[in-house]
Symmetry: C2
Subunit: 229 residues, 2 copies
DNA sequence: CTAATTCATTAGGCGCGCCTAAATATGGCG
DNA sequence: CGCCATATTTAGGCGCGCCTAATGAATTAG
């Protein structure tokens, strides 16, 4: 009755470490420190060290790890991290499109389910959704082969000039921020006119709303934009 | 990032014990022995004793347990078992109806996911499916309040007279059996004509198939029937 | 270039859910 | 009734993933 799980000796915890390393190492694939991982995962640094040693010394090592110099995903580790990320974002899209979840609730559910769905489930929802390329936050969904195009967007808080832009994506990490952004019409694809001198102040105009909008730093940090070309 | 899970201090393992006790105690709610649980769950008898003691001695005991006399669900335990069973059967229905799973694959996936979906997910798929009363095996889905009507069907192997019947439900426990039953047209709702003297021999005729069909005992044991009224 | 600070690892321990081997109840039978 | 086979529980241990406290390495400041 209790199903096997543990597909590849990959446990929920292992998957979460891999995903965190992927996210923290960034597009440049820089080494990730134990503390930053500990912060992100909400565990003690000692626990991280422990896990990294295990991941590095298994038969098929999932990370490259050197004492005191941080950690990097191995090829196998990156493959798995992208697989889980694909699950996550497909599930988010599915919850949003098919099950009518409010945007700010999809992340938490996906964070759990991503570890437990089968390859069949992944494939079936991908078909149902027409093999989507983006999740409802505007994040790119890795393809089956692990390929994922680089983001061309920048954080709103990195902006240095005024202008008109398009909301590329919003962070999925904080449901409350997300709800406030949505209330202000800031959702992926929305047109955004920045009318103040960033990055100290964010006075915005969104399409359809005449009143100017002053964005707190918290909220601005959760938004990525690209040119309105 | 790692979500809380452990909704009610109920772990995947605990849920599986509760479901197994529910299934084994039957409609009469008889006490369940350690060995039968160990068999069903695929664990050692000692592990069962261990778990039962824990379940019985928590603040809100999930079972009533007396050394050497087996175990019964408490009110709270039964509530939780039915909740998980509802998840299981709703998920099966969802996989079958919405994601076009083959019947014999829904059980394994549901067995995993039942422990990890949220109340919101449960509610959303129930709505999507129009609050179904039966899963694709023909099993009754417990209602939100835990109510579940008694089954009026009997195992095909309990049959003592010939006659024409309707397939009430098929067992979800063995994918291979299930596939063979389906290949023979034996699915919930199918009309079934029993032309031999049960329970030694099962020669059947199903609607639309002219050739008589001899069912092995394995297969017959996986089928429940009711009168064709 | 040493000293202080910060970061990371080691040491020791805990709860969970499982295991095997060794007791110990229980229930049926002679 | 007492003995035996079987069912069940106890005892002792293991891997996982986490924790705290103590130690050690690296980096920065003086
Ligand atoms: Mn997310
Ligand atoms: Mn996760
Ligand atoms: Mn099932
Ligand atoms: Mn299960």
């Amino acid at each position: 009755m209790p199903p096997s799980r543990q597909r590849n000796a990959n446990t929920e915890s292992v998957d979460n470490y891999l995903k965190a390393i992927l996210a923290l190492s960034g597009p440049e694939e820089q080494r990730v420190s134990s503390t930053s991982l500990a912060d992100r995962l909400g565990v003690a640094p000692a626990s991280v060290t422990n896990m990294l040693q295990k991941l590095a010394s298994s038969l098929l090592p999932l990370v490259e790890y050197e004492r005191h110099r941080g950690v990097l995903l191995s090829a196998a580790g990156k493959r798995r991290a992208l697989e889980v990320l694909r699950h996550h974002r497909l599930i988010e899209t599915f919850l949003y499109e098919v099950l009518d979840y409010p945007l700010e609730e999809v992340h938490e559910e996906a964070e759990r389910l991503e570890h437990f769905i089968s390859e069949r489930f992944e494939e079936r929802i991908a078909v149902k959704l027409g093999h989507p390329k983006f999740d409802p936050h505007g994040h790119c969904i890795p393809a089956m082969d692990g390929k994922m195009p680089k983001q061309i967007s920048v954080p709103l808080t990195d902006l240095r000039e005024q202008g008109t832009f398009v909301v590329d994506s919003v962070s999925d990490q904080d449901a409350l921020l997300l709800r406030r952004l949505r209330a202000h019409g800031i959702t992926p694809g929305a047109r955004l006119q920045v009318a103040s001198r960033p990055p100290d102040d964010f006075v915005l105009r969104t399409s359809g709303v005449s009143k100017a909008l002053h964005l707190s730093r918290d909220l601005a940090a959760a938004v990525r934009i690209r040119s309105a070309h």
